[in-house]
């Protein structure tokens, strides 16, 4: 009895502890995971390929796949990516479908519930149904799926990725839906946040004049993505502005659920024309800034079959290459910060929420029951209600809403739930593009998340297009909560693709983007009131303007630019004030700031002081008036800089929480500076070159997707940069892939790397082997093979995948 009890006991997961018997058996458990490095033998047989496929691995463990046809190509891509990243790709799909509770238990419930309420899984299913109608894309999706499943079907417990063993579950079959869920995750990461509730709270408290003053629609200093002066050669669609643009104002409390935009998520890309390059042909650069994670979000590979030969990075779980190049063209993406998530205040008829008031009539809602399965086996249900706008994300039962017992809710209109078009189709077409026309054609079917698609070709064209479904909006529509009863508040359609902001071969000789405003205010449509601060974009444009005879290395150097334009803008107004009131204990710090070259290098102490101080200063200026904890938001970076540099007598410097004193600019500046030094000393000891080095204060960490797996993560990576530097590396976000491509008539030369490694296995030498080079700002030459028999110098091994009879 004891024996059976023990076997049973060691065979089951105990809370967060894996099944000990299986896990520690050297024949089955985690130690088996250390024997898999050379797991792929030189010749394997798989049911699913029709002709032999040759895979050449280079010494960075990048597979170069040569197949005789497209089905074999994408089948092999699915197989190889699954082999290195299966656990990770499945994990992402569990996130976007709100199913994490099934593998990690009850702790993930609120997170899952939120993701289900966003309705991503439901939209993903519709997208998948739409993709079935496109024969070409569906064939690729199913071939990829079959490849992933071919790998999964080979797995026994012993061969499972170690995360499955630790968490105690097994992979499910892969499906095309999971590929769409993977893309849905990107839509959420890049588009899934809103300030609408918070700004509505500000409006309710301070009125429209204050909002217009402190939360304006365009910054004072900007360098938009489409250069000012670019003509708009089209007749804009009419957009009708309603008479009443605001719902009945009330104190909103939902903002605690809706994430604020993460300033660390963004990206840079640019391309210079032949007139600026040493070769006379364009060079293109891209570095998407995302949450830094292990395993990495990207997977490098080359995909070759008749009609296609492309190199770049893929998203694990998605066929094709997302950012990359082929013989003739290169392309990249950065996020568009337009406002594509809006909330409608809904008036329900009664507590059943079966009907809601819209366009002067009661309309029926749709109801879905969401079922959550916990690891323990427990099942919890949640009711989700949709209006025609979209899902009611959270309901608040508040007495003051529309009478005594009629509940209000907020329905969400979100571009991520838009199901027409094909994002996948865009990337697959870019993989095959030969010229500018192919690029424009590829972009026409793209939906979301809207991206600044940058392009360069060996035909000497460069271009950038702010692309995706951009809703047609009246000015400031969706800046605040909208009225869900008024049909004039509904989205009025989308800007036609041809009218999305775009520019080809501008006179300045380069195109670029860094998430800043897409256009200047002359563009006839309203896209949003808040984009990323202009610092990165301006710095990039400054440097590109000065550039001559550039090489790939010149562009690499710009990617690693640590200069703080923000410091350049605000310090001259701040330092004299500091000096005026300086006490001996702060003098050394002031001197450091004064002598600082404004470079956020990894070892700079001044950068640590400045960056910490800016956070503190913002809080000192704004938190009394617009407390974040009270679901408000601070005015944007540009407005704050303007206040600091040119409005020192503004009333906003007074702390309204101290009734009997009036705080001044001088008081706020010196007080916040002193507080900065105190907090740095408290957490990092007295100021020395070592203890206050910027990389230690910034503390960039590249964590495993399960943050509790600390030993699978890297912490305090030695890098410089910062939120507003071109090298936008913060503590948890940063350049997730850096790429530079020199276009060429014969064969392109490309360089790139990402902060991680090709293998998803924590014990592999290819798990995090690129991190150190990444931190130093280096790039690896990318090996882009011409034919399958080409000899490459950095060769690791060849694998032939044969059809299994």
């Amino acid at each position: 009895m004891v024996a059976i009890a023990l076997i049973y006991f060691f065979n089951k997961p105990l809370g967060s502890i894996p099944p000990l018997g299986k896990f520690f058996s050297p024949f089955h458990g985690f130690l088996q995971n250390t024997t898999q490095e050379e797991d792929l033998s030189e010749e394997i047989f798989l049911r699913g390929v029709s002709e032999p496929v040759k895979v050449v691995y280079d010494n960075n463990y990048v597979p170069h796949v040569f197949a005789a046809n497209e089905e074999d190509l994408y089948f092999t891509q699915g197989y190889l990516v699954a082999k290195d990243r299966l656990w990770q790709m499945e994990f992402y799909t569990l996130v976007s479908s709100g199913r994490l509770t099934e593998v990690v238990g009850e702790t993930a419930f609120e997170f899952d519930r939120y993701n289900r309420r966003l309705g991503m899984a439901r939209a993903a299913e519709e997208i998948m149904e739409n993709q079935k109608k496109d024969e070409k894309i569906w064939r690729i999706l199913t071939a990829y799926t079959a490849g992933v499943n071919a790998y999964i079907s080979q797995l026994s417990y012993k061969k499972l990725p170690v995360e499955y063993k630790i968490l105690g579950y097994e992979p499910e079959e892969w499906t095309p839906l999971k590929t769409i869920l993977m893309l849905m995750n990107m839509r959420n990461t890049l588009n899934g946040h809103s300030d609408d509730f918070r700004l509505t709270n500000v409006l309710a408290r301070y009125g429209i004049d204050t909002v217009n003053d402190l939360f304006p629609d365009y910054p004072t200093v900007e360098s938009p993505i489409i250069p000012a002066g670019t003509p708009w050669n089209f007749t804009p669609e009419p957009v009708k502005t309603p008479e009443v643009t605001l719902p009945p104002l009330q104190k909103e409390v939902l903002s605690q659920y809706i994430p604020r935009p993460d300033p660390g998520i963004g990206s840079n890309n640019w391309a210079i024309s032949g007139s600026k390059s040493a070769t006379g042909l364009p060079i293109l650069a891209n570095d998407p800034h995302l949450g830094l994670s292990l395993p990495s979000i990207w997977y490098q590979m080359q995909l070759s079959a008749p009609g296609i030969n492309v190199y770049g990075v893929a998203l694990p779980g998605c066929p094709g290459i997302v950012i990359g190049f082929n013989k003739d063209v290169a392309w990249g993406v950065t996020n568009v910060g337009s406002d594509v998530m809006d909330f409608y205040q809904v008036k329900f008829k009664d507590g059943t929420r079966k009907e809601y008031w819209h366009d002067n009539q009661w309309k029926p809602t749709k109801t879905y029951i969401e079922e959550f399965r916990f690891k323990s086996g427990k099942v919890v249900k949640d009711t989700l209600i949709y209006t025609h706008h979209g899902p009611v994300v959270y309901n608040q039962n508040k007495k003051e809403n529309f009478g005594t017992d009629t509940p209000a809710g907020h329905a969400m209109k979100w571009i991520a739930l838009y199901t027409a078009g094909s994002d996948l189709g865009t990337f697959l077409a870019l993989n095959r593009a030969k010229n500018y026309d192919d690029y424009r054609q590829a972009l026409s079917i793209y939906s979301a998340p809207a991206q600044n698609f940058i392009f360069a070709s060996n035909g000497n064209d460069i271009a950038i297009t702010v692309n995706g479904k951009l809703p047609l909006k009246w000015k400031d529509q969706g800046k605040f909560i909208l009225d869900g009863t008024n049909p004039e508040h509904d989205w009025q359609g989308f800007i036609p693709y041809e009218q999305n902001p775009t520019v080809k071969n501008p006179p300045r000789g380069f195109v670029s983007s860094a998430n800043q405003f897409s256009t200047d205010p002359s563009y006839p449509y309203y896209l949003g009131w808040k984009f990323a601060p202009a610092y990165r974009g301006r710095r990039i444009n400054d440097r590109l303007t000065r550039l001559k005879n550039a090489t790939a290395d010149s562009l690499r150097s710009i990617q690693n630019d640590n200069y703080s334009l923000m410091a350049e803008r605000v310090l001259p107004s701040l330092i004299p004030t500091l000096e005026k009131h300086a006490t001996p204990d702060v003098l050394p710090s002031i001197r450091l700031l004064k002598e600082w070259d404004r470079e956020n290098t990894a070892t700079s102490v001044a950068a640590s002081i400045f960056e910490t101080w800016m956070g503190e200063l913002y809080q000192w200026i704004w938190d009394d008036d617009f407390p974040i904890d009270n679901n408000m938001l601070y005015p944007a970076n540009d407005r704050t800089a303007q206040l600091v540099t040119s409005q020192p007598t503004s009333k906003w410097f007074d702390n309204v929480l101290t009734a009997d004193t009036v705080e001044t600019f001088d008081y706020i500046v010196t007080g916040s500076f002193k507080a900065t030094l105190d907090s740095l000393t408290r957490y990092h000891g007295p100021m020395t070159e070592d203890s206050w080095a910027w990389y230690k204060i910034k503390n960039t960490g590249i964590n495993h997707l399960v943050p509790a797996f600390k030993s699978f993560s890297r912490s305090t990576v030695k890098t410089g940069g910062g939120r507003e530097a071109v090298n936008a590396t913060t503590n948890r976000t940063g350049p997730s892939w850096r790429m530079v491509v020199e276009l060429d008539k014969e064969w392109p030369r490309a360089y790139g790397l990402y902060p991680g490694g090709q293998s998803g296995r924590p014990s592999s030498r290819y798990y995090d082997n690129m991190i150190d080079s990444w931190a130093e700002g280096k790039l690896n030459p990318l090996i882009f093979m011409k034919t399958k028999d080409e000899k490459i110098s950095k060769h690791l091994k060849n694998v032939i995948i044969n059809p299994k009879k």
Partner: protein, 118 residues
Amino acid sequence: MLYLLIIILGAIGSLVGPWWALPLVACLICALKAKTPGQAFGVSSAAAVTLWTVYSLILVFSGKENLVDKIGTLFAGNSAFLAHVPSLGLILTIVTLVAGLTTGFAGLAGKHLRMMFS
């Protein structure tokens, strides 16, 4: 003899079957061969610990990869005491406990079953 038999048959069972093939083998062999319940427990336990420890050490020292430190750190969690135990020591302790206890009791059960039916 009993000891070697459990190791050899247990290893073969583990290579083709699940992890509990080893206690199962011990149970069967002890039913047939063990002289006393004490011997059944002791020898089964010792054989299992030997097999798992030796194979673990082979994997640790022949493998090109190190996962022991990462898993050890993970299991030590936030415990200050465990953080000071070398990872390999921690892992081998768990290996000894799991293999020794399950297989020991399985051997014992085998012997008892035999005694019940004869």
